[in-house]
Symmetry: C2
Subunit: 411 residues, 2 copies
């Protein structure tokens, strides 16, 4: 993989020109993407910018995020050839920080369940996960050092776990979702993929002008609460082992680690995530679903057919649970600095017919809290990660603790 922090250091030291860094990504895309299928389109003429912390950094943008210089097709036939007028704010934030937008990465249709043809770089017979399939696969295959994805259920953390890359789903609305195709306005969150935790921290810090998000040189040992999410059923052996491995490594590196039960209202929030998501999706995708029913991707259409029955009263009740669960979760963070939990039920499933299961991710999306995927182990040739979570707004803490766990695993 290409490390963003490593590129930055070599560029700053004059050992690598920004244009050579971009050229390295273009060459990697040319060599590999016919096999991996992570890009919808790319700019073979891409060049580095002159200045900014991300000069020389090639970034892939999930194809539900508006770009003025590339079509934005939402992974869907209905938007074939669609050309937005403007760049989304997150794209402008990357450009302002000096990054080069190198292309658009594949997305499941409307960031839902209908898979792309992208394959997992670790085992070509397996899914890279979704919905941010191309962004995770492009970083994992060593084509680019940074990519943007989005998460409504588990669409950043799950593909990161399946592809063995670091990722952050920041606190809700730290990054604007303006110009990003909406599925659920309460849930949709823009996230970043990179080779390691420090790499995504660099990217997020540069995009937001927040130096406090950079991982500090010296890391305090965090108080860790391990959460198994029993309300979401048991994981496969590989994910259970990853959670145990990461917990033990953190403990041996000096963290205090204990198992933590979630308040019942938080488990209830896990159950009603679907109500919030689907009730809002029926509005967000009303034009597509009602005026373009035949052209809708089949899995998403079926899902919307099934969820037609949710009423405003169901939604109001779900939003009430959400608010109460956020308060209860906030109190949990009086006792621990971070939660460590499962990133996925196991390694990436075989085949490309499913992008896997978001059941361990969706609660945290609904809670709006920052989540960092830390690649943890390889099982049968496929990666598994864990998720490090801090309280709402404490993205710096989530990143620092993620780096702490990442370092501990390397010992």
């Amino acid at each position: 993989m290409i490390s963003l922090s490593d590129l930055q250091q070599r560029i700053a030291a004059g050992a690598l020109s920004p244009d050579a860094a971009i050229a390295q990504s273009l060459a990697a895309i040319a060599a590999q993407d016919k096999t991996i299928g992570a890009f919808v389109c790319d700019d073979a003429q891409a060049r580095a910018q002159d200045a900014g912390p991300l000069r020389g950094i090639a970034v892939g943008i999930k194809d539900i995020i508006d770009t003025a210089d590339f079509p934005t097709e939402m992974g869907a036939q209905i938007y074939r050839g669609h050309q937005p007028r403007a760049d989304a704010p997150v794209v402008m934030a990357l450009k302002r920080a000096g990054a080069t937008i190198i292309g658009k990465t594949t997305t499941t249709a409307f960031a839902s369940n209908d898979p792309t043809a992208t394959i997992n770089p670790h085992n070509h017979a397996h899914t890279p996960g979704g919905s941010s399939s191309g962004s995770a696969a492009a970083v994992a295959a060593g084509m680019i050092p940074l990519a943007l994805g989005t998460q409504t259920g588990g669409s950043v953390i799950r593909p990161a776990s399946f592809c063995g890359v670091a990722a952050i789903k920041p606190s809700y609305r730290l990054l604007p979702t303006v110009g990003v195709k909406c599925f659920s306005w309460t849930l949709d969150t823009v996230g970043l993929f990179g080779a390691g935790v420090r790499d995504v921290a660099c990217g997020l810090s540069a995009m937001t002008n927040r130096p406090e998000l950079l991982v500090p040189g010296s890391l305090a040992a965090p108080r860790v609460g391990v959460v198994t999410q029993a309300f979401a059923d048991a994981p496969d052996a590989s994910s259970a082992a990853a959670l145990q491995t990461a917990s033990r490594a953190a403990e041996q590196a000096g963290a205090s680690v204990r198992e933590l039960a979630m308040p019942e209202i938080v488990a209830e929030a896990w159950r009603i995530h679907t109500v919030v998501q689907e009730f809002e999706a029926h509005q967000s995708l009303a034009w597509e679903y009602r005026d373009n029913y035949e052209a809708m991707p089949p899995l998403l259409r079926g899902r919307l057919d099934e969820s037609k029955g949710f009423t405003p009263a169901d939604y109001d009740a779900a939003m009430d649970v959400t608010l109460r669960a956020r308060q209860a979760l906030s109190a949990v963070f009086d006792e621990v600095d971070v939660i460590v939990t499962l990133s996925a039920p196991g390694t990436a499933p075989e085949g490309l017919s499913s992008t896997g299961d978001a059941r361990y991710n969706r609660l945290w999306t609904l809670m709006g809290v920052p989540c960092v995927n830390v690649p943890t182990l390889i099982d049968g040739g496929l990666p598994v990660g864990v998720t490090v979570i801090a309280k709402f707004g404490a993205d710096a803490q989530a990143l620092a603790a993620g780096a702490f766990v990442e370092d501990a695993l390397k010992r």
Copy 2:
């Protein structure tokens, strides 16, 4: 003006065909809009739908809201001829309820300060207010029974007050802002204009499938707190008189009325509204401002030039004040059912160089609470309204109390 409720009753009784109702609006537009200038474009072939509570209701849509059948030009040269692929969810909600989208109404550029050429139907030498200029003027001139606008500072309630029409800015996110050009994602709120409070209640109820938003036949007398917003300076005599007139009328109709001081943190929230709005606008409009600086509308460009200095720390502090003020305001609603306050500093200013001042509106937008403009009196030929406000999520209460005040003023 054309009353939506009246049209509904006549259509239900068979006294008016839905197509005749639409034809009435088309004729009014043809007769008047050359003078008023409320529409950017309209559909002279528009016809009624067959079913739905809003069949026969012609609706104007502010031109920052995406429509698949009309261009969406944002009142700005940069978007001249821009044609969105999809209808925004609020447009689809109107169509699903049976309404006919009759055209797009004028907006100040990007819903900011640069005025449109629209005039006030009550006095052609005066502004109709902004930013939802066309929507307010089109309803006031009797061209259409319902229109959509948006409010980030005071862009629904202020033009409603200036034009003498009823309006509701609902609770934050009761109506999705998906497909609406973003200025500030924490503030932007879609609102409705109609001839009377019951008319906007009918529209909002139909759009959201929430029958509880309809104004009930029998109205309980509310506990009213009168708020002068002294932190925002004193109003003109006309607005001061409107607040007194509405308060007295409510009291005489049986409401308990008392003056209410706001907690200091709420006044502080009034002061930091600008920080939230401008910090987010620099991101929302980054492509326009940075890549199209020369083509930017001059007042907005100057405003963004001036507000470049806000930092993430300023923004975080402002969001912290916002959350604490929302909690404090919520406690105020333990003592009163609704707040009644000023809708504008006075009647519509003369000339078209300014759309007026949002200083009495912006606090409530930041608080996310439902606001209803009730036309109150005419001073020098120009209308003034008051705002009736309920707690977050209590849109039904705001509408019922708004109707109570409206009825009281007619006695």
